[in-house]
């Protein structure tokens, strides 16, 4: 607690500190790279870009850093659910709710008017063939005696 705190030159250090984590060159550069070119790069692409500055960094570290940044809410992982693809024969418009607790995926009916509204946010020159809406969170545990596999169970891994 000694010290002239650096007047927040960067948000990253701050956020990391908030989570009790250290600011490291690797984390900084990974974050910089993401900020500098906002093209939703993959971990591999980030790896390549970061290596330009930190030639000895390892891919594992890039994954670690990305994970850390996601934890700190500085970065969003776009392909959230990295598990296997799931298949669903429900043809009505619906969203999916992914229950973190059980690993189950539930269909949530989607009022057509809402679907339209969602589609309406697209600029005119974007032609969407499909939309996918996915929630993640916790569904109230069906308390008590329920063994009812209402809509889906996957062994939570």
């Amino acid at each position: 607690m000694s010290t002239a705190l650096p007047t927040a030159p960067d948000a990253l250090a701050q956020r990391l500190a908030d989570s009790g984590l250290r600011s490291t060159p690797q984390r900084e550069v990974v974050y910089d790279v993401l900020l500098k070119k906002r093209d939703h790069p993959t971990a591999d692409e980030v790896f390549v870009r970061v290596k330009a500055e930190l030639p000895t960094i390892s891919l594992a570290t890039v994954y670690n850093c990305l994970e850390t940044l996601v934890q700190c809410d500085l970065v969003r992982a776009v392909n959230f659910e990295r598990g296997p693809t799931r298949y669903c024969p429900n043809l009505r418009p619906h969203a999916h709710f992914h229950d973190e607790r059980s690993g189950a995926t539930h269909d949530i009916d989607l009022p057509p008017e809402l679907l339209e509204r969602v589609n309406a946010i697209l600029p005119p020159d974007y032609d969407a063939k499909s939309v996918e809406i996915i929630f993640r969170g916790k569904a109230a545990a069906p308390r008590s005696s329920e063994h009812r596999v209402a809509s889906s169970e996957h062994s939570a891994r």
Copy 2:
């Protein structure tokens, strides 16, 4: 074109025919399995279930059949983009548009009121920690003066 058409005992055969594909036991059973237990199974899970009926089926076939069903619009693949996870430092609420042509992912700003509306479709006992909205389709090629690399490029694989 001979024939007493079987009076559509099942939609599957129909749909397949429409796409110029054959109805096979494997496809039937895979589809049945999906209809019978609507728990968003993975390909592996489907594989296991189908084997109960067709013990000699291979995993590759299950993948093939699932793919076929998706093509025929009888089934939806929930994990749409099976590629690598992408990372995005945009913290404002936004959806993603995945351009099939270029492979690029663009951020689409999401009016907060719409976000609320979307959240509102959840039954009360569902507690969503996050929502992800993903469009897929084609974005008009930004011809002419637009250099706006608004958000991203990935080499289309």
